[in-house]
């Protein structure tokens, strides 16, 4: 029974990782860059929701939408101001810039809102459901988190595969010059990608903070790194890869905490990543990188 409970908790945590990992993987797939400021967008999303509910007494759902809106705009703004001027620069310059943006956001949050940890308000109180005569207690929030993740996954997959914009994104991901020869605006497509990734980060932040209700300026770092790991684990650039990588990572982390050591759990998770990458360098669902002749 314990195992089942740990498994569900792990899937809940993994769902949050998966939603964040989507932002990394989509941006990597289309802009071919690692946006290390993505975790800090989560942090901003958490603060926005925190103030929306705590200070402005917005209803929870409205607060979530408001946070999504702010993060979407922030993501597009970051791309336009920091990354777009580096479109033709080396990947190293872009990477360093992304780390710079990450520090900028953390320090801006510290100046604006202080470095102390604030308690995230209870936005959703669904209680628990009991199964097997009370032997298994499951938080409804965890189930909703998993459900939200699945819905996001399905909608995003349909969007990428069925809509004209989604197809244009895939075309850009494969070959930007040729996409432009079709009349596709690559800058707009990249902006849309950042908008989607950052909007999803806001949803992830609310789900994360509803389970672990502490808000501070470095809140996004660890989930950011974990989700990045999940994206690499599943095969960066692949949307189903982010989903599977996120869930596996969440389950692995929770089980490691429960059965091995809570201090060692992160080390164990990263060790597994190293092993996976040694055996399959492109991740679980990653494409084989073939050199063009």
């Amino acid at each position: 029974m314990d195992f089942l409970s740990f498994l569900i908790t792990g899937l809940g945590l993994g769902s949050v990782y998966a939603i964040i990992a989507l932002g990394y993987t989509m941006v990597y797939g289309i802009a071919k860059m690692l946006n290390f400021a993505h975790g800090d967008v989560i942090m901003i999303g958490a603060y926005v929701a925190f103030f929306a509910v705590g200070k402005f007494n917005m209803p929870s759902l409205v607060a979530v939408l408001f946070s999504v809106l702010v993060c979407t705009l922030l993501g597009v703004l970051i791309e336009r101001l920091a990354y777009k001027p580096l479109r033709d620069a080396s990947t190293l310059s872009v990477l360093i810039t992304a780390i710079g943006v990450s520090y900028f956001l953390q320090n801006a949050a510290q100046i604006l809102w202080g470095s102390d940890t604030k308690i995230f308000p209870t936005m959703f109180d669904f209680g628990n459901i009991s199964l097997f005569n009370g032997q298994l207690q499951i938080s409804l929030l965890t189930l909703i988190t998993i459900l939200v993740c699945i819905v996001i996954m399905v909608v995003l997959t349909l969007f990428i595969n069925k809509t004209k914009t989604g197809k244009a994104m895939r075309a850009c991901s494969e070959d930007k010059a040729t996409a432009q020869l079709m009349g596709i605006n690559v800058d707009t497509t990249i902006s849309i990608t950042f908008a989607i990734g950052s909007g999803l980060a806001a949803i992830a932040s609310v789900l994360l903070c509803s389970t672990y209700p502490a808000v501070n300026p470095t809140l996004g770092s660890m989930p950011g790194i974990k989700a990045f790991t999940a994206a690499v684990f599943g095969g960066i650039g692949s949307i189903p890869g982010a989903f599977i990588g996120g869930l596996l990572l969440g389950v692995l982390e929770t089980l490691a905490k429960a059965y091995i050591s809570s201090q060692m759990s992160d080390a164990i998770v990263f060790l597994v990543l190293i092993i996976v990458l040694l055996i399959k360098p492109t991740g679980l669902l990653g494409k084989k990188i073939s050199e063009k002749v």
Binding site: K167, A168, R170, E174, Q180, I184
Partner: protein, 234 residues
């Protein structure tokens, strides 16, 4: 005049790749641009499509200056390029590739008609419409790249090395198709290393040598030019 290129100059760093190139393409023509590998043919195509820019000079298409335009705005004017090496979207289906060709169009009925025409012209594409483009053979990919371009309803088609890497039978087939497309009213600017084939279907031709146009004239005259015979026709 449908396309008029004046004083095109392209630099890659300090290398002056295209030097004061001027040429024109009239409505209804097939114009061939021939030259050896590295002469600058693809640079000219990319400059016309806006992927790289000329220093100075002008490019007029259908009466409009396009030399400073963003590349994604040019296809909407009816100037469509089939790039060297085909560049189909390998991870998308044949059908999706064709849809991308019509990306800017909103006239659904005409798109459907053009799709039928493309399938009529390239029947193999219809058989394989749900297959990933990456699984097609080289010849089929060339047909897909051309079909995709036709889906944009072009006024001027830029074809960059359509015969590259294809068997002689397929080369003949592709060149017959180019002639047919032209007969249906599409003007063609053709860049080729295969000078023989290009000159056989072209109305006029330009010879490009290390970034300069050295010979130009009606295709027949260019083909009879002793220098051209020696250098390109063997």
């Amino acid at each position: 005049m449908l396309l008029e290129v004046k004083d095109m100059n392209v630099y890659y760093g300090v290398i002056h790749a295209i030097k004061n190139v001027s040429f024109e393409v009239n409505q209804g023509e097939i114009v061939a641009l021939i030259g050896a590998n590295g002469a600058g043919k693809t640079s000219i195509m990319h400059t016309i499509s806006g992927l790289i820019h000329s220093r100075g000079g002008s490019i007029q298409f259908d009466g409009q200056e396009i030399s400073k335009m963003a590349p994604h705005k040019i296809p909407g004017l009816g100037l469509i390029q089939v790039p060297e090496g085909r560049h189909v979207f390998t991870e998308m289906t044949v059908m999706e590739n064709l849809e991308m060709g019509a990306y800017l169009r909103k006239d659904k009925e005409n798109i459907q008609k053009d799709l039928e025409r493309v399938f009529k012209r390239f029947s193999r594409l219809e058989e394989r419409k749900n297959q990933l483009a990456g699984t097609l053979s080289g010849g089929e990919q060339q047909m897909l790249a051309m079909g995709r371009a036709l889906m944009a309803n072009p006024k001027l088609l830029l074809l960059d090395e359509p015969s590259m890497g294809l068997s002689p039978i397929l080369v003949n087939e592709i060149f017959d198709i180019i002639k047919n497309i032209n007969k249906d009213g599409v003007t063609v600017l053709l860049v080729e290393q295969n000078a023989n084939k290009a000159l056989s279907i072209a109305d006029r031709a330009y010879v490009l040598e290390t970034g300069n146009i050295t010979i130009s004239g009606p295709a027949k005259e260019v083909a009879d030019n002793p220098k051209v015979r020696e250098a390109y026709l063997g």
